[in-house]
């Protein structure tokens, strides 16, 4: 087997890389593929929390690289999906604990075991990012429609372009999208961001409080029905697998007269 190694990256922190990694991983695994999630945020481990696996972590990525354990021993199986595993980051080390060659070798090994290897990159453009990208052939760039996040995404895209020989394809996920604000012309739209970055779109994930709930439960939303953000991630997974799936309708219907009256008297309430 030779799987696909996809790095999930953003430049800016806090735009939803780890959430996206967990959700895309769950969605791909739900559709039947075997998936390894690799947390490359060494020193700031979080992916285990989102997956609800924090109590099952025994060994980590650095233990594997430094040969304190076998790769299979460090991989933590998901609670619900037997074809989904997590390779946790070390919490007590820093980004220098692994180098690019070690990462490449690790990805090669994982690729022979899984259909998809999703690498959750740390924020920033320094060594941690460079290592996370080292073994990948594809990238997913996450951004929100905010100026600072878009600027950092542009920087990342520039760095991915410079690695054209290794990174064959990169696509954008626009996260925490707020259609109401876009319709009110208060925020950049999907098309605005795509035009500015000149990048291919992989998906749009609407802002959704359910994400916080799911993080607290340790169960990614893409495993839950009837959640908009979960559906968005499942669509993203289908597109990764090569299906043509239209971007879901994000248009917010005309507000009712009642809600217009409410927002008239209290402009801070968005309806």
């Amino acid at each position: 087997m030779s799987g696909r190694v996809i790095v999930i990256t953003s430049g800016k922190g806090g735009v939803g890389k780890t959430t996206a990694s967990a959700n895309i991983g769950v969605a791909l695994a739900t559709s039947g593929a075997s998936v390894a999630l690799v947390d490359m945020d060494i020193g700031l481990r979080n992916l285990d929390i989102l997956m609800g696996l924090e109590n099952r972590v025994v060994y980590n990525l650095v233990d594997v690289v430094e040969e304190r354990c076998k790769l299979r021993q460090a991989l933590v199986k998901d609670k619900k999906l037997p074809n989904l595993s997590l390779l946790p980051a070390a919490q007590t080390r820093d980004k220098s604990a692994v180098d690019a060659d070690q990462m490449k070798a690790l990805c090669e090994e994982l690729k022979s075991m899984y259909d998809f290897v999703l690498v959750d990159s740390p924020a920033g453009i320094e060594q941690g990012f460079q290592n996370a990208v080292a073994g990948a052939e594809e990238a997913i760039v996450i951004t929100t429609p905010e100026m600072s996040a878009v600027r950092d995404a542009d920087r990342i895209i520039g760095l991915l372009e410079a690695r054209k020989d290794e990174i064959k394809e990169y696509r954008l996920v626009l996260n925490r999208y707020r259609p109401t604000m876009v319709q009110n012309n208060d925020m950049m739209s999907v098309d605005d961001v795509l035009e500015i970055l000149s990048v291919k779109l992989l998906g749009v994930v609407p802002e959704d409080e359910e994400i916080i709930v799911s993080t607290n439960k340790g169960e990614p939303v893409s495993g839950t029905d009837n959640v908009r953000s979960g559906l968005a991630y499942r669509n993203i997974a289908r597109r990764i697998r090569g299906e043509e799936v239209p971007i879901m309708d994000l248009e917010v219907k005309n507000p009712s007269w009642m809600s217009r009256i409410v927002s008239f008297f209290n402009p801070t309430v968005r309806v």
Binding site: R151, I157, V182, N184, N185, M187, M188, D192, P267
Partner: protein
């Protein structure tokens, strides 16, 4: 509050922060991608106008100077309206 009353009745959307963000973004990324410091373009513009002026009389009011992005590549578009050549 006054503004919101007009908004309420007018079918057209107000011109919010969206277009400002987009313009600032475009400008910022053009400079980021070229690693172009602020003011550098303006000094190039001055020099180019001076060079072209040695050969032509220019309608200086219509001179246009623009950095355009296409698929992450940047082009410099300069547009001089020439009145007549200088001999």
């Amino acid at each position: 509050m006054q503004l919101r009353i007009f908004e309420w009745f007018s079918p057209t959307k107000h011109d919010g922060a969206r277009s400002t963000a987009k313009d600032r973004m475009r400008n910022m990324l053009t400079h980021d991608r070229l690693e172009l410091p602020a003011g550098r373009l303006e000094s190039l513009e001055e020099e180019l106008v001076a060079v072209v002026s040695r050969y032509f009389e220019l309608d200086k009011d219509t001179t246009q100077f623009d950095l355009q992005q296409y698929e992450r590549r940047t082009s410099l578009i300069a547009n001089f309206r020439l009145l007549r050549s200088k001999c």
